[in-house]
């Protein structure tokens, strides 16, 4: 490490709860899920029919432009460079082209549910290496018919219409809208120009399972290595972590693997855990940035997101889950975890400002 600390100085958010991080954290802190019937497109032929949709008829390019402007305005910076996470299909690429024309035609991350987490880690690496003073990271996913159809066909969507991470009776994930931008910059540079530091990205880690096309390693070994890499960069020990915003989607196998990763790193008593996906849904390529925003705001307010949808204990998911709220804990350090197809894992370690 070079001694350069990475500050979060701007946030822009769109979710099922509308504009801004405030309404989203309020829903998460009270455990009020944003799921409802999908009316954005025809789901007649699908087995699952619910998702967490933003109000109105959002357009991805416009929403990305809006959150980037809000994040840059909050941070008081004029522009990027920009790292963007989005789905890799040609239609999405065309829809995001105007965003890149305005904010810079930098690299795009397309690596599924760790796309944004990888972009954040790489932005932090650029800043600590002294290659950039600041980087804007943006990510967007709006629930659309093609992905909904293939996730439905793959039986990945919750058959009972609720996301229930770590819970007995969980049956899968639910998709949700998420469009987010974050300004990351050298803390010293931010403080010199009088910017407010919202939080510090103290550590990050990326690791692979080397196990399967789409299933996680059952022992959570890749995720455990990503967490340990993040702890190492932050020079922290596991007992200093006060909250974990888990990847948990409500998938029977993946949630169990994540529990094993947490037990590997933290021992039998991990810190309080919840998955904010239980409230805002799974935003795929944008999920890591949406969950980072929730985690940053959680550290700012001291309110931990509730693990909504929980029906009862699963003996394979023995964790100290945040089950009722508002739960004020005021942790100093928190982890935001993400895993994806291909055995990809990222861990982002956030420190309160």
């Amino acid at each position: 490490m070079t001694g350069v600390r990475v500050a979060v100085t701007g946030l822009g958010v769109r979710s099922a709860f509308g504009a801004g991080i405030g309404p989203l954290l309020a829903a998460a802190a009270h455990g009020r899920p944003g799921f409802g019937p999908v009316d954005r497109f025809d789901v007649t032929h699908r087995q699952a029919r619910r998702a967490a949709l933003a109000p109105g008829s959002p357009v991805l390019g416009e929403a990305l432009t809006a959150v980037l402007a809000e994040a840059a305005d909050q941070a008081g910076v004029p522009d990027g460079p920009l790292l963007l996470a989005r789905h890799g299909d040609p239609v999405t690429a065309a829809g995001c082209a105007p965003v890149q024309e305005r904010w810079g035609s930098g690299r795009v991350y397309t690596g599924a549910c760790v796309a944004a987490g990888t972009a954040v880690a790489d932005a932090a690496a650029l800043i600590t290496a002294g290659q950039q003073d600041r980087v804007l990271v943006a990510a967007g996913y709006l629930v659309e018919p093609d992905t909904f159809a293939v996730f439905d066909a793959g039986r990945a969507l919750a058959r009972d219409g609720e996301a229930r991470p770590f819970s007995a009776g969980r049956s899968g994930l639910l998709l949700g809208d998420g469009v987010v931008a974050v300004v990351l910059e050298s803390e010293a540079v931010a403080l010199r120009r009088g910017a407010e530091v919202l939080a510090v990205l103290a550590g990050w880690g990326r690791a692979g399972d080397g196990y399967h096309v789409c299933r996680p390693a059952p022992d959570g070994s890749g995720l455990a290595r990503a967490i340990r890499a993040a702890l190492g960069r932050a020079d922290l020990t596991p007992d200093q972590i006060g909250y974990v915003n888990a990847n948990a989607t409500g998938s029977p196998l993946a949630d169990q693997a994540e529990v094993r990763a947490l037990h590997t790193v933290f021992g039998p008593n991990p810190p309080p855990v919840s998955s904010s996906k239980s409230v805002h849904g799974h935003a795929l390529e944008a999920s890591a940035l949406l969950e980072l925003a929730v985690t940053v705001e959680s550290l700012r307010t001291g309110l931990l997101p509730v693990n909504a949808g929980w029906l009862g204990p699963d003996p394979d998911c023995a964790l100290d889950l945040v089950l009722t709220g508002p739960y004020r804990a005021g942790p100093r350090y928190a982890l935001s975890l993400n895993s994806a197809f291909g055995g990809a894992n990222t861990a982002l370690l956030v420190a309160a400002a």
Partner: protein, 190 residues
């Protein structure tokens, strides 16, 4: 394709020297490379578990040629970086057609609906446990590793989440195009 000089590139794009030049600029050591097509190639091998698109067999063929060219055990953590400006056009079209048809969508399309899946296939077969990353560079020439990918490889190695990286650059001109891919195994010069 933005920045390309034609759907199939040209002979210069296939020269090992060009790969080396980019790698050297970024402080990377080129350990091995593989590509598809090579002289005499006519048809991509089938890839069990993947359907409807030549993209995934293209990625695996180039990557495994590179790993076979290296021919030794890989020490430590090897990461995977798949970079494609075009993306998997065949899978995107198959999903779009199936979703719009009202018919049952083939479940295999779920597994390959993002580029990480084929990287998971490679990681499992070759026990690669470094970061798994997929990007779309600002521009790409089929058959070449784009400078953006070398920059990212250099960053990932310097950031010490991997000891070496298998970088695969794959491009399709249209959904049925078998495309062109090059894979390079890189480490640091230190």
């Amino acid at each position: 394709m933005n920045g390309s000089d034609g759907a199939n590139g040209d002979e210069r794009a296939n020269s090992p020297g060009k790969v080396n030049a980019h790698a050297d600029v970024n402080g990377l050591r080129l350990l091995a490379q593989g590509r598809w097509p090579e002289p005499g190639d006519t048809e991509l091998p089938r890839l069990p578990g993947f359907t409807d698109s030549p993209f995934n067999p293209l990625v695996v063929t180039a990557a495994e040629r590179c790993l076979h060219a290296w021919g030794r055990e890989l020490p430590g953590r090897t990461g995977l970086l798949l970079t494609s400006h075009s993306g998997d056009l065949g899978t995107a079209r198959a999903i779009n057609e199936a979703a719009g048809s009202g018919r049952r969508v083939p479940p295999l399309l779920f597994f390959q609906s993002n580029p990480n899946a084929v990287l998971g296939h490679l990681a499992a077969r070759w026990n690669l446990t470094g970061p798994v990353v997929a990007t779309s560079p600002p521009a790409a020439v089929p058959g070449e590793v784009p400078p953006d990918a070398f920059e990212l490889a250099s960053l990932l190695l310097a950031d010490d989440d991997a000891d070496q990286l298998l970088v695969i650059a794959a491009e399709q001109a249209d959904p049925a195009d078998p495309g062109r891919a090059v894979a390079v195994l890189v480490g640091t010069t230190a």
